[in-house]
């Protein structure tokens, strides 16, 4: 592997970005694996290394415990567990990586959903000695629910099963048997030892029988460019720029992030909810105008006509408009200790729009271990996944989550505590 440390500015500026999460149950070796990736990609500085060497010694460990690198807050250090989503960074000359490190405890579905919401890829760890367990299925289900297109199943601790091909094949077959029910287009299997580094960065000499790529090579090369939606043009207006200066007297720039499709100067656009149409006059940036804008760019758009547009409105194209409704079917993950209250109202955030909503029906709760639909269970609490029907105070302009993660996702907020209580994916 060539080191990030030797790359020049040009290469650096050309790197793309991969966001991934790691999932596995406690002690499957997540922290060790992330530590190893950081270590082998030279993303660990000397003082950090000194600190963990010292801490490892203090704890009486005979080798440097790389898992200490990713250990966060003090409470967790004391309990020796990870209890929240932590983000890590490393880079190779090809890509920069953002890792959402999420813990594997049963009660922390919430964290995995949070980490997965922005990820392109999930690494699911399986302990080679234990094989596919309930949590493996749960994590895979969440990855599929959150529409993560790429899953890498890392069968870890191969050193403890004599690097056995048989063990690997058995786990792979078991996994494939249940994952066929899920919606994950790209699944790869890699036998590794996070502790010793086998197949993490370099191909392992201990597993000649494995013909695939190492984990890092896989992460560097997985094709993600087409994961975003470049078809359905969607531009939620975030903020209206009105400089009130003599130079820009009547200027109105609609600032926002392109959440789908491509917008070009001259394109005809339709504004929701007003339904007015206009043409794109310019796409402005401080370094000069652009001809076109695409996801996930943050730009400012001006229109030919002076129409009333404010935050929460959306631009699309006349021949490809989002759906609109006040009655919306959602898959949700409940994130809060306080249970879903069927008679309460919640704030709902969708793109840049905020409204209120009430829950009209709990269709079913999902048993995330068996994937069964529990239609008689209406009580939704922390870490539950359910399908619900909501009614919003004003119509939303949306796409299904499967079609567009940005225009198909919502969060629900408690009206009293202001806490984010649910993550919702529009069906």
């Amino acid at each position: 592997m060539s080191e990030i440390n030797n790359i020049d500015t040009k290469t650096y500026l050309d790197m793309d970005l991969l966001r991934f999460t790691t999932a596995g149950s406690v002690d499957d070796g997540k922290s060790t694996l992330i530590g190893r990736l950081l270590y082998d990609s030279k993303s660990i500085f000397q003082d950090q290394l000194d600190a963990i060497e010292e801490a490892s010694q203090r704890k009486g460990k005979e080798y440097v415990d790389l898992s200490l690198l990713t250990d966060g807050l003090r409470a967790e250090r004391e309990q020796g567990i990870t209890i929240d989503v932590a983000y890590r960074y490393f880079a190779t000359p090809k890509r920069k990586f953002i890792v959402a490190d999420t813990p594997g405890h049963i009660q922390y579905t919430r964290n995995m959903v949070t980490g997965a919401s922005t990820a392109n890829l999930t690494i699911i760890l399986v302990d080679a000695r234990h094989g596919v367990i309930e949590q493996t299925m749960r994590h895979s289900f969440i990855a599929s629910l959150l529409q993560i297109k790429h899953v890498v199943v890392c069968i870890n601790k191969m050193d403890l099963v004599d690097y056995s091909e048989e063990v690997f094949n058995k786990i792979k077959a078991d996994y494939e048997a249940f994952s066929s029910k899920l919606d994950i287009p790209d699944i790869q299997f890699i036998p590794i030892s996070a502790l010793n580094g086998d197949n993490v960065v370099d191909k392992s000499e201990n597993m000649d029988w494995y013909k695939g790529a190492s984990l890092l090579y896989t992460l560097e090369n997985v094709h993600i460019a087409s994961d975003l939606n470049y078809v359905d043009a969607r531009f939620p207006v975030q903020y209206v720029i009105r400089p009130h200066s003599t130079e820009y007297h009547d200027y109105r720039g609609y600032a926002g992030r392109v959440e789908g499709g491509v917008f070009k100067v001259g394109d005809e656009v339709v504004v929701h909810p007003s339904g007015f149409t206009s043409k794109i006059k310019s796409i402005d940036t401080i370094t000069g105008p652009l001809e076109e804008a695409f996801p996930p760019m943050s730009v400012s758009i001006t229109l030919e006509n002076d129409i009333d547009i404010s935050r929460g409105d959306m631009l699309s194209k006349p021949l490809n408009q989002p759906q609109t409704s006040q009655d919306i079917e959602l898959m949700i993950c409940w994130l809060n200790e306080k249970k879903l209250n069927p008679s309460a109202k919640y704030y709902i955030k969708h793109t840049t729009k905020e409204a209120r909503c009430m829950v009209k029906d709990v269709r079913y709760k999902v048993d995330i271990n068996t994937l069964h639909k529990l239609e008689d269970q209406k009580e939704i609490g922390l870490n539950d996944i359910a399908r619900i029907l909501i009614r919003t105070t004003t119509p939303l302009y949306f796409d299904s989550y499967k079609r567009n993660r940005a225009t198909g996702s919502v969060i629900l907020i408690d009206e009293f505590t202001n806490e984010t209580v649910a993550a919702g994916m529009i069906i």
Binding site: L13, F45, Y87, R242, P243, G256, S298
Partner: protein
């Protein structure tokens, strides 16, 4: 078709940061940008310019001045605020000390970093700021790895690690009760290298102390501290002229210099790339304890 529409990682990070800044401008009534004169806050100012162009930055830059700053930082601060046409608000730790709300640390190189918290919270109270942008990054320190973009603070400015809102997709929840406020970190996902490369790509000006120069420094427990009125020499310590630069622009009392010949951004980047220690490793105040950062954060430092 898709591949030609691919944003590089730095462009994606820029787009994310601009999105966050616009969310704040839209969701809050009185935002402010905490400006230290350091490279991270310089990047924030640039992103704010981009986010609201051709409008002016719609919030003030706020500097909490410890009065132990490098003079070069202060000159630069005034210059930049003037150049981008932003309102600059300066509040001083010394004023808090004079008011009796803060007390100077005892000891050889008393740090005012802790006191900054007090003055910052007083400033937030004075102007009723409801969201303050900071340039903190998650890669800087372990305690920050779990920080949110929108970090909720209690009425007392405190951060409760157990009570942070989950952040999903790019939907940021800025709802709050009276008196509560937020810290917002638009460049959470940037690394030190990203910041330097961005400064180079955007050709941003930065304070001169980031580049090599001759300066009298004293070696205290491995940290090279700049000669200043705020440091008392002990034992057989003495100042020596060295060729140094700084990797961060904290207080003169606790920001260590590194020996360096890096005179241009390119050379600084080369040095950062080969660096053997994290930038915070040169700050004396972090070393005080492994959990020091977390403690200060709970009190509202960030």
């Amino acid at each position: 078709m898709a591949s030609s529409y691919n944003l590089t990682h730095l462009k994606q990070l820029e787009a994310e940061a601009i999105h966050v800044m616009r969310e704040v401008a839209a969701q809050f009534e009185r935002p402010a940008l905490l400006f230290s004169g350091g490279k991270d806050s310089i990047v924030l100012v640039r992103l704010a310019q981009k986010a609201f162009y051709p409008g002016k930055i719609p919030f003030p830059l706020v500097h909490v001045d410890t009065e132990h700053n490098f003079p070069e930082t202060i000159v630069f601060r005034d210059h930049l605020a003037n150049k981008v046409g932003a309102q600059l608000i300066v509040r001083s730790v010394q004023d808090s000390i004079n008011r009796g709300t803060a007390q100077e640390e005892k000891g050889l190189n008393p740090s005012r970093n802790g006191l900054q918290t007090i003055t910052l919270l007083e400033t937030i109270e004075e102007f009723k700021f409801d969201a303050c942008f900071g340039g903190a990054r998650r890669d800087e320190e372990k305690a920050r790895a779990k920080e949110r973009f929108f970090s909720h603070r209690t009425e007392f400015g405190e951060w409760d690690p157990k009570n942070q809102r989950p952040e999903l997709w790019n939907l940021y929840n800025g709802r709050k009760s009276v008196g509560e406020h937020f810290r917002v970190f638009p460049i959470s996902n940037w690394t030190e290298m990203d910041v330097w490369q961005y400064i180079a790509a955007e050709q941003l000006e930065i304070p001169t102390i980031y580049f090599t120069h001759q300066r009298e420094v004293v070696n205290r427990n491995g940290a090279l501290l700049a000669k200043s009125d705020y440091i008392t020499l002990i034992g057989n310590e003495k100042y020596e002229m060295q060729t140094v630069r700084f990797r961060t622009v904290g207080d003169m009392t606790c920001t260590g210099a590194v020996l360096s010949d890096a005179a241009t951004l390119e050379e600084v980047i080369e040095e950062v790339a080969g660096a053997r220690s994290t930038e915070r490793g040169t700050r004396a105040d972090d070393k005080r304890s492994e959990a020091a950062m977390e403690d200060r954060k709970k009190q509202g430092y960030f």
